[in-house]
Symmetry: C2
Amino acid sequence: MKEKGKKITIYDVAKAAGCSTATVSLVLHNDKRIKEETRNKVRECIKTLNYKPSYLARSLAIQRTQSIGIIVPEMTNPVFSELVHGAEGYLSQNGYNVIIGSTNQDLDKEKLYLDMLSGKKVDGLIILPTFLSEIEDKLKDMQAMHFPFVVTGVKSSMKNVNYVSTNKVEGAFIGVEHLIHRGHKNIAFVRGSEVEEHSSERLEGYIKALNVYGIPFREDYIIKSRQDFSDVREKVRGFKKEHPEVTALFCLYDFIAMAVMKALYDLKLSIPKDVAVVGYDNIQLGEYLPVGLTSIDGNNYKVGEIAARILVNQITSDAEEIQHIILTPKLVIREST
Amino acid sequence: MKEKGKKITIYDVAKAAGCSTATVSLVLHNDKRIKEETRNKVRECIKTLNYKPSYLARSLAIQRTQSIGIIVPEMTNPVFSELVHGAEGYLSQNGYNVIIGSTNQDLDKEKLYLDMLSGKKVDGLIILPTFLSEIEDKLKDMQAMHFPFVVTGVKSSMKNVNYVSTNKVEGAFIGVEHLIHRGHKNIAFVRGSEVEEHSSERLEGYIKALNVYGIPFREDYIIKSRQDFSDVREKVRGFKKEHPEVTALFCLYDFIAMAVMKALYDLKLSIPKDVAVVGYDNIQLGEYLPVGLTSIDGNNYKVGEIAARILVNQITSDAEEIQHIILTPKLVIREST
DNA sequence: TTGTAGGCGTTATCAT
DNA sequence: ATGATAACGCCTACAA
């Protein structure tokens, strides 16, 4: 056991093994040029000294970290964690390890992570922005310095930036269309507490579907709330009493749909007989609700995978062309409709 | 990235501003010693050159990263993400940023992250191990080199290692006790597909409760499965047909409880009239199920926070005493019992 | 097969 | 108030 505080470096190993740091370095990388004998000697010293190389110093020297960063708003949301999971799969396949920075929807943190990670802590970045418009400057800077990154999880307004995403307008459209096909005319949109930026596309799809099928859009059919769970539950109860004619609820995402369903149970209403419910995201849990939840699947796993592929390609092949990939969501029908 | 544009360093800024790198560095850190005039000049050059400091080089120089790593089995599990969230709160309060390494329950990845992050990429580590016994060696190494870390999320068998955790034996005990108080005698334990290591404590608590109340333990009341969701659902259906006398199910965790509830609905049974269900972890969703789920709350947010506090304390004050903290879980009663 | 030495981008200690 | 320059720990031509 070493003296406290004294960190042991490649130099210590070299001294102990009676060779140069270069030799130790080569042994560390299993270079065949080193004689069996010296190699063993070095390995022995590494063991007994309990030497661990500094990835920091190594990265600085080789100008590469072999790790890529993912910036996410929060990991409690299954949509994000699925996406991350998809990216991780591809990346670790390809020799990269993944570092996640969770911003908790905090703009300063988002900026900080952007700076930190692009400051060479990682070789590239997959960004799921919470505040896309506020970080455009930083993205431009990153582009200017040719730091590889891809944006995902939102519609990027920057035309010259890599991004992969899903068509949420289309997703909402097929969800509402499905409701219409089921005979519903009075369909409300439960928007929860989500910010404009992350709900506008789905709202657009909702309105589009109504238009296409000649159903007038009513502003008062949009249910907003302050928080996602308890407040939605309350608001929906109130809404349904005021609007008994409404027989279907399209929800911004599955968690909201769960709160909505809870509210309907509170009112002793049956799903889908009295009211039909459609969610968005198709989280795994939806299948295990007592009444399985019909939902829109954005295939987030795939989104993550594709983002990772684009990123790795850009890093390794120095490709410069911008890629925009938009996947089309699928309707998953269960008992709630 | 490549020859596209040479990466611009603090040296370039110094040259452009007609001063030394030392001066630039001082400006970068808002040191008051620098004359207003030069400071502005330097800032201007930084802007126009679009200079971003290398956190890598900086960390190497100051021997500190101001970031701490959290190694988790997976982020899709709310238990882990809550814990991480708790840690993040405390850490960012205290000027650290957090880097998450998700191992996806892969031993090699777990080892890799351990090496990487302790290789000075971070100043300290919070570890939620999947394979505690397999990484003990690495933990010992880290101790030997005085690298700060704390283990959590499991019972650590290493007596001389920091860890904070919850008493899952106790948690399961109060869950099963609650069921017994409700008049149940025949209580099954739904174990799902979880590995021995992560279910043994709760099993112990289950058995203990039975013993205390004079109920014989039956091996065939333990329901195992291959996967967590669809398989549990199937297995529970089969089990309930074979054992109609069983009126209560204690589940290893809430997700399993959800699959269990689904199975009971499949059988047209009512909860809690026909069968009572208790989960574990008290995930937020439990409240929003049509029949609210009674569960055990381990206060994982707090666990993460405490782990973070211990870690920071160890880093900053060089404290050497080992800390073992065990929180006691609470019963949260809802409609399922 | 192995050693020498310069470089990676910052910081920090002396000087000036 | 600012500048030189030696660390920080490792890699890698280029030598030997």
